[in-house]
């Protein structure tokens, strides 16, 4: 049964916004890659929700409505990118389109609210994994920078990150 979000007052709307903003931005970033663009899209989705409040009966879940709106707005953004994109950007745009198409049928971990679970599963990872994931994902370092810090070849870092993310994917899939 989908969860029904109950918002009666401006205060609750603000609370709802603040609770879900980060996850929604992460979700939009899947498609548009940039956090500033994603943030704009999420804001627009919240404004839309606001404007539709008299016309729309959300009978399933406000969150599902927001995710759907964000998805559609992201698609619009990719469309615009396609029109303006220079040649060397076109493969990224193509990948974006492939990904957006994939999420028409699939749900992301963020929509499944699995992010907490993911964080917990980090503890289950083999030693050495936490180190590279921390540097790559939390500190946002590029593989080259990690390789410099650890004084190992870039290729070793790439392989290690690949193994660790795969392991994490397996753990979350099983849970």
């Amino acid at each position: 049964m989908p969860q029904i979000v109950n918002i009666k007052s401006a205060k609750e709307f603000e609370q709802f916004f603040k609770t879900h903003f980060d996850d929604m931005v992460r979700y939009a970033m899947k498609f548009v890659y940039r956090s500033d663009v994603a943030s704009d899209i999420v804001q627009e989705a919240f404004v839309k929700l606001w404007e539709m409040r008299n016309k729309l009966l959300v009978t399933v879940s406000i969150k599902a409505y927001l995710y759907k709106t964000i998805y559609n707005l992201s698609l619009n953004h990719i469309e615009q990118l396609k029109v303006h994109s220079q040649h060397h950007n076109s493969i990224y745009t193509e990948l974006m389109e492939l990904e957006a198409d994939y999420y028409k049928e699939e749900k992301s971990l963020l929509q499944q609210e699995k992010i907490e679970l993911l964080r917990q599963m980090l503890k289950e990872l083999p030693k050495g994994c936490y180190e590279v994931i921390d540097m790559s994902r939390f500190q946002g370092l590029k593989t080259k920078e990690i390789a410099n810090k650890l004084d190992v070849p870039v290729r070793t870092v790439e392989t290690r990150i690949y193994r660790c993310i795969s392991k994490l994917k397996e753990l979350v899939g099983r849970a």
Binding site: N6, I7, V25, R26, L56, I91, I165, L168
Partner: protein, 328 residues
């Protein structure tokens, strides 16, 4: 084995944004190679994205920016939340009474039912025993009892019908279409419920109707006002302002499209002209089309008009029409 490792490194580089253009194309090629690869890549990226400590702007600051855009102080009217709750109950009821519903259907079998089938390429109109007039669009089916001797006048619609219901307060008129029920006293409305379409649209022209999910409690249904349209899709009901002309144009021997997706456009044309149309390029399905036809054009004239505004071409062969994307 070496190749597999190469792709692993390239995947990391594509996510890390350190990949060269050549590596990116290879990743794209690899993704498109099989469904397994595609699934693996996007599941992998999903974990990658979900673990990111991205530089997400502070929600407090964003809220300050957003707040002035929300002009009205009162955010959600109370009724909306009541309606959400009611709808949730209606859906629950719809699920729990599903088996009972099957039973009541067999009980009504004592009545004689008439089925009207309207083939593709034509339209039809039926007057029911109570004086109700139903215009049926191409490719539709209506099942109704030969006499209405029950408390409720119930008919079943697949496809599209325009109803002018004879007023009778004692015996509500109910149209069952897919997963929804439209309940009326006396009124004019249009229901579009083709099984192959992904939604059911109910447009109210005059009077008042209430909508609920099949088997749900109608006293808690959603009430439509004249000029409104209810769109039921993926278990969700949205109420919008209707474009009456657009919704009822077919009854006047014409058709009208407004931001209609190619997928839906093709379904309509197939039914209207009794032809088979095949879209060969996936991209075309997502295009949309806006335009009006009077229905005295041939299918070829219609396709030529569509060609003027959309980058498509068509050819015909063996009674089938093939639509392709023009790329340059």
């Amino acid at each position: 084995m070496k190749e597999l490792k190469d792709i692993e490194a390239m995947i990391i580089r594509s996510l890390d944004k350190t990949a060269t253009e050549e590596e990116l194309s290879k990743v794209k090629e690899w993704i498109n190679h099989s469904l397994e690869n595609k699934q693996l890549y996007f599941e992998f990226k999903d974990v990658w994205d979900a673990t990111a400590e991205a530089d997400i702007p502070s929600n407090k600051e964003v809220w300050q920016n957003l707040k002035p855009q929300l002009t009205n102080r009162k955010i959600f009217p109370g009724w909306a939340f009541k309606a959400v709750k009611i709808a949730a109950v209606a859906i629950l009821v719809a699920f729990t009474t599903y088996s009972i519903f099957d039973y009541s259907e067999t009980k009504q079998d004592e009545l004689t039912y008439v089925t009207v089938n309207v083939p593709n390429g034509s339209q039809s109109a039926v007057t029911l025993a109570d004086g109700t007039l139903v215009k049926l669009n191409a490719g539709s089916e209506l099942i109704y009892p030969s006499i209405f001797n029950q408390d409720e006048r119930t008919v079943t619609l697949k496809g599209e019908g325009y109803f002018t219901v004879h007023h009778n307060k004692e015996h509500p008129f109910i149209v069952t279409a897919g997963d929804i029920e439209v309940r009326v006293l006396g009124t004019e409305f249009n229901v579009m419920a083709y099984p192959e379409a992904d939604r059911i649209e109910t447009t109210l022209i005059e009077g008042s109707v209430s909508l609920n999910t099949k088997g749900g409690d109608f006293t808690k249904g959603i009430i439509l006002k004249p000029g409104q349209k209810a769109v039921y899709s993926n278990g969700q009901m949205n109420i919008n302002e209707a474009d009456i002309e657009l919704a009822t144009n077919w009854t006047k021997k014409g058709f009208n499209f407004k931001n209609t997706s190619f997928k839906d456009l093709v379904i309509r044309l197939e039914r209207w002209y009794n032809v088979d149309i095949i879209i060969l390029s996936e991209e075309v399905k997502d295009f949309s089309f806006t335009g009006k036809f009077r229905n005295n054009e041939t299918i070829w004239q219609v396709l030529d008009v569509i060609k003027m505004t959309t980058p498509i071409d068509y050819k015909s062969d063996d009674d089938k029409i093939y639509i392709t994307l023009i790329t340059d």
